[in-house]
């Protein structure tokens, strides 16, 4: 019986440490929200920073969702912006076509549902064929899909009239809409006139929901299956885990959340075009994930916030700012990842009188 008690004790310890970790992450987000919100309400915030509040939320959600694929499922994806693009366009179309007269918060919720569902659907459609590929091959194919999505949306025309939705890939004239028709997606010109429904509060709520989904998923049966396929695909199969199914699950959930980030983005701007959703954005989000620590959700959040705000903070340095950004990025990567730098850091830590002991394997 003593043994049983001991076991229960160990389980309890593991559970409470996971719970504590999750709560700290929620706590950081809420604390940041309260601080920023009180700065906004007392007017102690530059309009520049104020304008960044929603984009920061967009990138945080994008980074956390990409970490689900890169960190938790262990697959390199360079097409994340493509899913954001799908979410942004699908939801903006929906908001412009329907929903006039409904309360704003309800319109935003509907938009998020539409955008996330559309992006999730694309995640499945793309994931089914490409998840058979591995490593850098998967990376280049996801990059390719991201560019394809962008290219195709660029030639997409869509509108709505009393007969329903009209779609063309040629021109606005080819939509053949009735006299009451309203053209919404205008090819390379994108969508304009979307009501600005996104708010900082909505962004933070969406971050919390994203964290809730990702963190709970990680601690569940499906999450363990996903991580097992990351750590050792062959062993996972040997214990009866259908690898592709769980890779696909991670990919689709990640795509849906990226779509939600896209909704937040598109409902924060009066006009939407595909330019913002090219591979550079996918790469940027990947930078957040890697810099914050692969598989480390809290790290993704912090990296996304810092690297979104940093270039704007450096704006005073005008021409030099992106240069400095690049140098900082390289230096941080070397400092965080180079084995030589890591062992140097550990030696320094040990030398400090109250320094942390060398990390053992228990948790992280």
């Amino acid at each position: 019986m003593n043994q049983n008690n001991q076991s229960a004790e160990i389980i309890k310890k593991i559970q409470s440490s996971t719970r504590r970790g999750n709560l700290i992450t929620y706590g950081i987000v809420l604390a940041a929200y309260i601080v920023m919100q009180s700065l906004v309400s007392t007017g102690h915030i530059s309009s520049l920073l104020k304008g960044l509040l929603v984009p920061v939320c967009v990138y945080v959600i994008a980074a956390v969702s990409l970490n689900l694929v890169v960190g938790i499922s262990g697959e390199l994806s360079l097409g994340h912006a493509g899913f954001m693009c799908v979410g942004a366009y699908a939801s903006s179309f929906f908001t412009n076509a329907y929903g006039d007269g409904l309360p704003n918060w309800f319109r935003l919720i509907l938009a998020i549902i539409v955008g996330a569902a559309a992006a999730g659907l694309f995640g499945i459609l793309i994931g089914v064929p490409v998840l058979r590929l591995k490593g850098d091959y998967l990376a280049i194919v996801t990059l390719a899909f991201g560019e394809i999505i962008k290219n195709l949306i660029n030639v997409l025309y869509a509108g709505v009239d009393s007969n329903g939705i009209h779609i063309s890939t040629k021109s606005a004239m080819d939509l053949n809409m009735g006299p009451d028709g309203k053209q919404i997606i205008k090819g390379a010109l994108g969508i304009s006139g979307t009501p600005r429904l996104s708010t900082f509060t909505a962004g933070v709520v969406l971050i919390i929901i994203t964290l809730f989904i990702v963190q709970n998923l990680m601690n569940s049966r499906a999450g363990r299956a996903i991580m097992s396929t990351r750590d050792n695909r062959i062993a996972a199969e040997s214990i009866g885990i259908p690898v592709t199914k769980y890779k696909l699950l991670a990919f689709a959930v990640s795509a849906a959340l990226a779509g939600a980030a896209g909704v937040l983005y598109s409902h924060n701007l009066a006009s939407l075009s595909t330019a913002k959703f090219d591979y550079n954005t996918s790469i940027l989000v990947l930078v957040f994930v890697v810099l914050g620590g692969i598989g480390n959700i809290r790290g993704s959040i912090i990296a996304a916030v810092i690297l979104t705000v940093l270039p704007e903070m450096l704006r005073g340095l005008s021409a030099y700012r992106m240069l400095i950004y690049a140098v900082i990025l390289i230096a941080m990567m070397l400092f965080n990842w180079a084995p030589a730098a890591i062992s140097w850091r550990e030696r320094m830590m040990e030398r400090l009188p109250f320094g942390r002991k060398k990390r053992t394997g228990e948790e992280d």
Binding site: I11, A235, S238, V243
Partner: protein, 252 residues
């Protein structure tokens, strides 16, 4: 009825007969050894049994069910679990989760139940935790449940792999060189553990091993493989004293 019945199992890679006309019958509850010199095709037999490779010929029956040509995931669901010669743990996951993920097809709840942490989630997780700790306890790993699997010492990693395989509730357990890299003390302890697993879980076990002390100590029957073919099979003591086996091991 036999637990495992293999007949005429063959596979060749580019003209090379890696396994040729392999036959074996293992009764329920038996502790069976598969031995032979390096490169004899022992691991290939495991890969054929578990669906990693598809045989060119032959039939594999598990507890009367034909499992020939099924893929790895299906084979595990039908009741074969294995360990690997070069340890394959989920090294970034805690020891506890390495075992819990083995329950995947035994104890289940939906993805949504997991995300929303519905009552069924808590109920099932509690069951899993309890059962996993029981299994870990058998292998003396309970106190290290929170440690990352990759940080365990080598001998314990081998044991954890067996524990994970057992979590899938198999009918037949395949162990690929479980004593590789262990010192004599660890090997002796492992022999006790394997016997205990057989008795406690009422398990049928087929193992590949080079350590003759272990083989002679715990296996009831043996099959000797040489150049992909069965050289000899039967009771352990008879097989080990067969001159052909001695020649195969020591050379001419």
């Amino acid at each position: 009825m036999a637990m495992l019945e293999v007949s005429r199992l063959s596979i060749s890679f580019g003209g090379l007969h890696a396994v040729d006309d392999f036959n074996v019958t293992i009764e329920k509850g038996q502790l069976y050894g598969l031995i032979g010199p390096n490169g004899a095709g022992k691991t290939t037999v495991f890969n054929l049994l578990t669906g990693v490779y598809k045989p060119n010929e032959g039939i594999v029956r598990l507890d009367g069910v034909d499992i020939t040509g099924k893929n790895t995931v299906e084979v595990n669901r039908l009741g074969i679990a294995r360990t690997f010669q070069n340890i394959r743990l989920f090294k970034d996951m805690p020891v506890l989760d390495n075992v819990k993920v083995g329950f995947h097809n035994q104890k289940s709840y939906s993805v949504l139940t997991g995300i929303l942490k519905l009552p069924k989630y808590h109920r099932t997780e509690n069951e899993m935790n309890q059962k996993a700790m029981e299994i870990l306890d058998v292998f003396g790993l309970a106190s290290e449940a929170a440690v990352k699997a990759g940080n365990l010492p080598y001998g314990k990693q081998r044991k954890l792999e067996i524990a994970r395989a057992l979590a899938t509730d198999p009918k037949l357990l395949l162990l690929d060189e479980p004593a590789a890299g262990m010192n004599p003390n660890e090997t002796a302890e492992l022999m006790d553990t394997i016997r205990f697993v057989r008795d406690h879980f009422d398990m049928t076990i087929l193992l590949i091993e080079h350590d003759m002390k272990l083989v002679a100590g715990i296996c009831e029957k043996l099959t000797v493989l040489n150049f992909g073919r069965v050289l000899c099979q039967g009771e352990t003591s008879e097989v080990l004293s067969d001159p052909a086996v001695i020649t195969a091991y020591l050379g001419e």
